[in-house]
C-alpha cells in the first residue's frame, strides 16, 4: 500500500499537475460565484480542454473546478443572498443574515474554513471507508430513494421557522412545479400547455435565481434599504475567535459526516446534504433560535455539509462507477475519455491513481481555503457598492446566467415569474427554501415511489419490510412530529423557532 501512496503523491507533485489544479480551482471559483453557472457546467464545458493533456493533469483541472465551485457558490449566497450553486441554498440562510449584521467577513471566513474542513473530512472517508460506504449505498433501491426524498421533504417543517404550515405549503408548491414536463414513468405530458419548451420540466436553477436573486432585489427596492445598508457598512473580521472555533467544531464535523453520507448516495448531492446537515446541526444546537438569523454553527454545518458531499460522491464514483451527483457523472465521462474505468477494478489494478485523486482533492481543499480567506476582504467590498448598482448587477447576471444554462428564453420567464413570486412570498412570510427543496426532490420522489410500486406489483405493504426505508420513514415521522413533541414536553425553545422568512 505504501508504494502506491508514494507513487500517487509523486504523480501529483509534478509542477504541471499542480498548475492545472490551481487553474481549475480558480476557474471553479468563477463558475461557483456566478449565479446560473454551476460546477457541473464548468466541468462539462472545460472537459474538452483536458483531451490534450495527461490523465493526472486533466483530472487535476476538473477536480479543481469541482472543489473550487462548491465553496465559491457560498460567496454570493453570503453577500447578496443569491446562491451561486444549488448546494449553497442553506449557506444563504445564516450567511446572508450575518452579512446584514455587518459580519460579512466572518461569514466568508467560516465559509472558506468549514468548506475545507468538510472536503478534507470527506476525503478521509474516501481514503479509509470507501468500500463500506459504497456497499451501503449499493443497497439502495427505488423504495429507499423514495424514503430519502420523503425525509428531505419532511425537513421543510424544520427549515420553515414559526411558519411551519406555510413552509410545507411552499414545499408542496415546489413538488407541484416539479410535475411540469413528461411523466417520468409513462412520458405522458403534464402541465406543458402544448409547449415543447416545458417537456423537460422547469429547471430549478432559473427558479432559484429568480426566488433568491430577483425576489431579494425587489424586496430591497420596496423597503428601499440597501444590500450594503447601514447594518452591513462594516465587513468585520475574517477569522473566528478561539471560542467561536470551539463552538463550531461539532456542527462542522457533524455536517461533514452527514454531507459525506448523503454525497455517497447516488444522485443525492450537496444540495440535499447541506440542508440535512443544517437541520441536524439545528436540532443538536443549544441555541436553536439563532439558526436562520446568523448562527455560526448553522453556517459551518451547511458549508461543510455541501462540500463534504464531494468526497462522498467521489467515493461512490470511484468504487462503484456510479455517479454520486451530476458533476461526478460528467467526471466519469472525462475519466473514460482518458482510458480510466471507475469501479472496483480501479482499486485492484491502479491504486496509485486512486491515491493521486485523494492527494489532488486534499491540495484543492487547502488551496480553496487559502483563496477563500485571502479574497474574503476584497470580495466583501462588493457590499460598499451603491445599492442600485448592485441590484442592476444581480438582475443582469441572474438573467444572463438563467439563459446560459439551456440557451432557452423560457428559462428567463421562469426566472422572472419566480422573482415576482419570491417577492410576494417574502411579503406574505412564506419561506422560500422549502419551495426549492420540493422542486429538486419532486422528480426523485415520484419516480422512485412508482418504480418501487412496480417492483412490489402495487403492494404498498411489502415496501415496509425494507429496513433502510423503515429508518427513513421513522426519521420522517419524527421530523414532522418534532414540533408537536417539543410543545408537548414544554420545551422553552419552542417559542424561539428559527425563521427563514427573509
Amino acid at each position: 500500500m505504501i508504494p502506491e501512496i508514494l507513487a500517487g503523491l509523486s504523480a501529483v507533485l509534478d509542477w504541471q499537475v499542480l498548475a492545472f489544479l490551481v487553474a481549475g480551482v480558480c476557474m471553479g471559483a468563477v463558475f461557483g460565484s456566478l449565479p446560473g453557472l454551476t460546477a457541473t457546467m464548468g466541468v462539462a464545458i472545460l472537459t474538452p480542454l483536458t483531451f490534450w493533456v495527461s490523465a493526472e493533469q486533466g483530472l487535476a483541472m476538473l477536480l479543481g473546478i469541482y472543489c473550487g465551485a462548491i465553496p465559491a457558490g457560498g460567496i454570493p449566497a453570503i453577500l447578496i443572498n443569491v446562491p451561486g450553486t444549488p448546494a449553497s441554498i442553506a449557506t444563504s440562510w445564516d450567511g446572508y443574515a450575518l452579512t446584514r449584521k455587518g459580519q460579512a467577513g466572518l461569514a466568508l471566513g467560516i465559509n472558506a474554513l468549514a468548506s475545507a474542513a468538510g472536503q478534507l473530512t470527506s476525503i478521509v472517508f474516501l481514503a479509509f471507508l470507501a468500500f463500506p460506504i459504497a456497499s451501503f449505498a449499493l443497497q439502495f433501491g427505488p423504495a429507499e430513494y423514495f424514503g430519502l426524498a420523503l425525509l428531505g421533504i419532511s425537513l421543510m417543517a424544520g427549515v420553515s421557522g414559526k411558519h411551519v404550515l406555510k413552509g410545507m405549503l411552499a414545499g408542496m408548491l415546489g413538488l407541484a412545479l416539479a410535475l411540469v414536463g413528461l411523466d417520468p414513468m409513462t412520458a405522458y405530458p403534464r402541465y406543458t400547455f402544448g409547449m415543447s419548451e416545458f417537456l423537460d420540466g422547469i429547471s430549478f436553477v432559473p427558479v432559484m435565481i429568480g426566488l433568491f436573486g430577483l425576489g431579494e432585489v425587489l424586496v430591497q427596492i420596496s423597503e428601499r434599504h440597501t444590500a450594503s445598508g447601514v447594518q452591513a457598512a462594516t465587513i468585520g473580521r475574517i477569522l473566528p475567535k478561539a471560542a467561536e472555533y470551539k463552538s463550531m467544531i461539532g456542527s462542522t464535523f457533524g455536517g461533514a459526516t452527514v454531507g459525506t453520507m448523503v454525497g455517497a448516495i447516488p444522485a443525492a448531492g450537496g444540495d440535499i446534504g447541506s440542508v440535512i446537515a443544517w437541520e441536524q446541526a439545528r436540532r443538536a444546537a443549544p441555541d436553536k433560535a439563532e439558526f436562520g438569523k446568523g448562527s455560526l454553527r448553522g453556517l459551518a454545518a451547511s458549508c461543510s455539509g455541501c462540500n463534504a458531499a464531494i468526497g462522498g460522491a467521489m467515493t461512490t464514483m470511484l468504487t462503484l462507477g456510479i455517479p454520486g451527483d451530476a458533476v461526478s457523472a460528467v467526471l466519469i465521462g472525462a475519466l473514460l475519455i482518458h482510458g480510466i474505468q471507475p469501479g472496483p477494478l480501479l482499486f485492484a489494478n491502479n491504486q496509485s491513481f486512486v491515491f493521486s485523486i485523494v492527494f489532488l482533492l486534499i491540495f484543492a481543499s487547502v488551496l480553496i481555503m487559502a483563496i477563500g480567506i485571502l479574497c474574503a476582504k476584497p470580495l466583501a467590498k462588493i457590499l460598499k457598492v451603491p445599492a442600485p448598482w448592485l441590484w442592476g448587477g444581480i438582475v443582469l447576471f441572474g438573467t444572463v446566467g438563467a439563459y446560459a444554462l439551456n440557451h432557452a428564453v423560457v428559462d428567463l420567464w421562469a426566472m422572472y415569474a419566480a422573482g415576482v413570486a419570491g417577492f410576494l412570498f417574502r411579503k406574505a412570510r412564506i419561506p422560500l427554501g422549502p419551495l426549492v427543496l420540493g422542486l429538486i426532490l419532486g422528480p426523485m420522489m415520484e419516480s422512485n415511489l412508482r418504480r418501487a410500486l412496480i417492483l412490489s406489483r402495487g403492494d404498498w405493504t411489502s415496501m415496509l419490510t425494507r429496513p433502510i426505508l423503515l429508518v427513513f420513514l421513522t426519521a420522517t415521522l419524527l421530523a414532522l412530529l418534532w414540533p408537536l413533541i417539543r410543545r408537548a414536553f414544554g420545551s422553552s425553545a419552542s417559542n424561539h423557532r428559527p425563521s427563514l422568512d427573509a
Binding site: M172, A176, R190, L396, V409, G458, D459
Partner: protein
C-alpha cells in the same frame, strides 16, 4: 384572522383543488399501479388540507403579520422594465439593449445620468465578455 394567512390559504387551496381537478384528467394507472395522475392529485389533496389548516388555525388578529408592500410603485416600475427587457430578448444587439435597460433602471431608482451610464456600460461589458466571449454563450 390576518391578511397573509387569508391570502396564502386561499391561494394554496385554489392551487390544490386545481391540481386535483387537472390530475383527474391524466391516466389513473392500471393494475393497482399509479399513473400520471396519481402524484398531482396526491399533492393537490395534501396542499388543500394544509391550506385549510392554515386558514382554520390562524384565528388571532395579528397586525404585525399583515402584508406590507412598501414602495410598490418602484417595485412595479423595476419589474416592468425587466419585463420589457425580457420581451425584447433576442432583438438587436445584446450590448445595446442591455445598456439601455440598465441605464433606464438605474435612473428610475434615482441614480444620476453619469453614474448610471458608467455603471451600465461596465456591467454590460463584463457580462458580455464573461458569457459571450469567454463561455461562448451566444447573447445576440
Amino acid at each position: 384572522m390576518n391578511s397573509t394567512d387569508w391570502i396564502s390559504g386561499g391561494l394554496f387551496l385554489a392551487i390544490g383543488i386545481g391540481l386535483i381537478a387537472s390530475g383527474s384528467a391524466f391516466p389513473a394507472g392500471v393494475g393497482g399501479l399509479p399513473g400520471a395522475g396519481f402524484f398531482p392529485q396526491a399533492i393537490g389533496a395534501v396542499m388543500a388540507m394544509l391550506a385549510c389548516a392554515l386558514v382554520v388555525t390562524r384565528r388571532k388578529k395579528d397586525a404585525s403579520d399583515s402584508i406590507q408592500m412598501g414602495n410598490a410603485r418602484q417595485v412595479a416600475g423595476a419589474a416592468g422594465l425587466l419585463f420589457v427587457y425580457l420581451l425584447l430578448w433576442g432583438q438587436g444587439l445584446f450590448i445595446l439593449r442591455t445598456a439601455v435597460f440598465l441605464i433606464l433602471t438605474l435612473r428610475f431608482l434615482g441614480q444620476r445620468w453619469w453614474p448610471a451610464t458608467a455603471c451600465s456600460a461596465a456591467l454590460t461589458a463584463f457580462a458580455y465578455l464573461a458569457f459571450d466571449t469567454a463561455l461562448n454563450v451566444s447573447l445576440d
